[in-house]
């Protein structure tokens, strides 16, 4: 594979850095948009992009924190958290541009999926509802898809993603831990009810005895047995929706 940081056009045509990992060769390969967690485009996040490349995907992972300033990834991510996160519209603009980048690549097989973790899971759910050009979405424990207290809605984040469910444009896979405080099992129930209500195709997989972020190998939340099982589910789901070539 080859993996490198490149510049792509982001929201409002601004150049943003993105980590781009793909197999060697001309393809065709399915595309994956990877959305990093709230801790930034850190070592684990780039490992995820390389994992997709290892599995035969062209994976692009834009650095959504780029506009917060230069510096160490943790320092920049801490600033983004302190800012109350970037506006959803800006993030959606960056993600739409990353999808367009993949769709411009001659190696693409014509299909693009999206996966995100934690806050990236929230963006995944929102992207599946708002953006064109996605054929499958994987929300890994996205927090605040459901917003219990309307006071938590802000000008930057004015809409709870669950309220966009009627516009969901592609099949959704959800991976959740039943001990997670955000999303709680009740939040996941609420999301599932909305998906059913609107007749959207989805699969939810819920794991007992574990909480948030259980794929993250460098964190105490890592649960290797469940993570391996869930990763297999992810690749089975994506294989079903992304590996059959179609014309662009």
């Amino acid at each position: 594979m080859i993996a490198e940081t490149i510049g792509i056009r982001g929201h409002r045509n601004e150049t943003i850095p993105a980590y781009y990992a793909r197999p060697l060769g001309a393809g065709p390969f399915p595309g994956m948009l990877v959305i990093h967690h709230g801790l930034g485009l850190d070592e684990w996040s780039t490992e995820v992009a390389r994992k997709f490349a290892e599995h035969g995907y062209a994976a692009i992972e834009p650095n959504l924190d780029h506009r917060a300033g230069e510096g160490d990834v943790e320092d920049v991510a801490a600033r983004v958290r302190a800012m109350g996160w970037f506006p959803d519209d800006q993030v959606m603009g960056d993600l739409a541009s990353a999808i367009a980048f993949l769709r411009d690549q001659p190696l693409l097989n014509g299909r693009v999926g999206v996966i995100g973790f934690c806050s990236g899971g929230r963006y995944t759910y929102m992207a599946a509802c708002r953006l064109e050009g996605l054929d499958a979405a994987v929300d890994c424990w996205g927090g605040s898809v459901v917003v219990d207290d309307p006071a938590q809605l802000t000008s930057a984040r004015p809409v709870a993603p669950v309220d966009l469910t009627k516009d969901m444009r592609c099949p959704l896979l959800g991976i959740f831990g039943n001990e997670d405080p955000n999303p709680t099992p009740a939040h996941v129930d609420r999301t599932e009810a909305e998906l059913k209500k609107h007749g959207k195709p989805y699969e939810f997989h819920r794991y007992d005895g574990i909480g948030h972020g259980f794929f993250a190998v460098a964190r105490p939340s890592y649960r290797p047995v469940q993570a391996m099982e869930a990763w297999a589910t992810v690749f089975e789901f994506l294989g079903k929706h992304l590996t059959a070539a179609k014309s662009k």
Binding site: D72, D75, A82, N182
Partner: protein, 81 residues
């Protein structure tokens, strides 16, 4: 958990970071995923130069019990003045 909640206050003082002493003017406190501490959630305290670069900060990541104990210890120290 992504709490999306940060308490931010004005402060007066200095903090010593990787580039030496700096005059910090804001403290940002959250209970969320830590970057480094071996905890699922932590009280994160950033003492920052609000007009500075992202790296102009001193960061703490403490367990909830440690943060409470620290707060109480500060209060006790101040009662003696």
């Amino acid at each position: 958990m992504c709490t999306n909640t940060v308490e931010s206050i004005d402060i007066v003082g200095s903090a010593k970071g990787s580039r030496g002493w700096m005059p910090v003017d804001r403290a940002r406190i959250a209970y969320d995923h830590p970057f480094n501490a071996p905890l699922e959630h932590a009280v994160t305290i950033d003492l920052v130069v609000s007009t500075g670069e992202p790296g102009d900060r001193v960061a703490l990541e403490l367990s909830a019990d440690s943060a409470r104990a620290l707060g109480h210890a500060i209060t006790r120290a101040l009662t003696r003045i």
